[in-house]
Symmetry: none
Subunit: 208 residues, 2 copies
DNA sequence: TTTTATATAGCAAAAATTTGCTATTCTAAT
DNA sequence: ATTAGAATAGCAAATTTTTGCTATATAAAA
């Protein structure tokens, strides 16, 4: 089935962009398929292309930028453009964040070709699409209950830079007991038994 | 031009694996192209396939594992297998580490189709191939004069998953002394005073 | 206004890490 | 054949982290 729309892919991994565009072409899902590995060329094309029907496959991690940062500018350029986020991360925090910004679709890079087809079909019909892989994450009760305070995040960053408790205390002009207290609070919230686990947790949830 | 060899792709992003295998097929570069998104299926296939000519496209980031960690096992299974690392990171240290573990090729995921072809051609002729994008990095003065072994990387991954020394020792069926030794070796190489620093170092240099 | 959450600080014991040593086995390279 | 590097393992001491407690001041929220 072919949809009377055009597809644009933006992914900083040129090889993925090329390969994925080949896949879309192979299944004849669009009138036109264009791929870009940098936002400059992407936006140039978008501005020239005008107000046509477009489905944009937008990678989340784009080196310097994130796909999320480009969403509003895309909207300004083409009111009718549909945007599908592509990401490989399975973090509830990230998915929740993406979801709350109301894209037309969210696809995992680990998804099957069938899922891609379903996604395109749904979006062409005016619906939104969330990869089944992500649906569980969105409705998981674990995803929302935790939040860190700004002070905690600040201290977390010192640890991420390799500082010990004593060093962080010195650098922040605080007692090491205070650092220990904050650290233990975060570890309790995130259910971690070590600073190593906490840092991994933070990285996985996009906090670092 | 078709090479009398078979290609296997291992990438935890199934979509990339599928798309890339389609690209290889499209250009008729191999007799057979197989793609996998998990190491279990990959190794099962490899063991059944026997001692034939194989070129393996191996993603570095594989979720739980890294491609580097699988290198020795691949060698045990098929002496004749050629391995090409695929990575998107531009970290000199990562490339240096990959290079020092003697793969047959290193390709950037941002490379062009032409580069892929050139790589396959060189490797089929018994040469090794390094993506031009990476050659500069290897000879750049900013590249560190250190490298991690595949065993070290494996152990590093356990720490990144939040395991303690004792837990890693148990999971790897090793003495905790051995883990401590590897850990200390990495910390010495990377000039780190704690596992936190080491993990940060590893992340900054694209190893994790 | 009372409660709740946050930031701060402390003590002491238990657990884990880090460091300074040595040493054996195996493999790859010269 | 020898050397060099890598993986393995050990001990002991010094240091750091983690945990189980308590406690106060302040700010925000109900």
């Amino acid at each position: 089935m072919k949809y009377s729309a055009n597809a644009i892919i933006l992914d900083d991994h040129g090889l993925f962009a090329d390969a994925f565009s080949m896949l879309l072409e192979r299944y004849k899902l669009f009138d036109l398929v264009k791929s870009f590995d940098n936002k400059e060329d992407f936006f140039t094309f978008l501005s020239v292309f005008g107000q046509k029907n477009i489905i944009i496959f937008l990678d989340y991690y784009l080196g310097e930028d994130t796909g999320l940062m480009l969403l509003s500018e895309i909207g300004r350029m083409n009111r009718k453009a549909k945007v599908i986020f592509l990401t490989s991360a399975l973090s509830p925090f990230l998915i929740q964040t993406l979801y709350s910004n109301n894209p037309d679709g969210i696809l995992s890079k680990s998804c099957s070709v069938e899922t891609v087809k379903q996604c395109i079909e749904d979006i062409s019909a005016g619906k939104t699409f969330v990869d089944p892989l992500f649906k569980d994450l969105l409705h998981s009760n674990q995803s929302l209950n935790i939040k860190f305070t700004s002070r905690e995040i600040e201290i977390l960053n010192h640890f991420a830079n390799g500082e010990t408790i004593a060093q962080t205390a010195e650098n922040m002009f605080l007692s090491s007991h205070t650092i220990v207290a904050h650290r233990r609070k975060m570890m309790a919230k995130a259910d971690c038994q070590s600073i190593t686990q906490l840092l991994t947790f933070a990285k996985q949830h996009g906090l670092l």
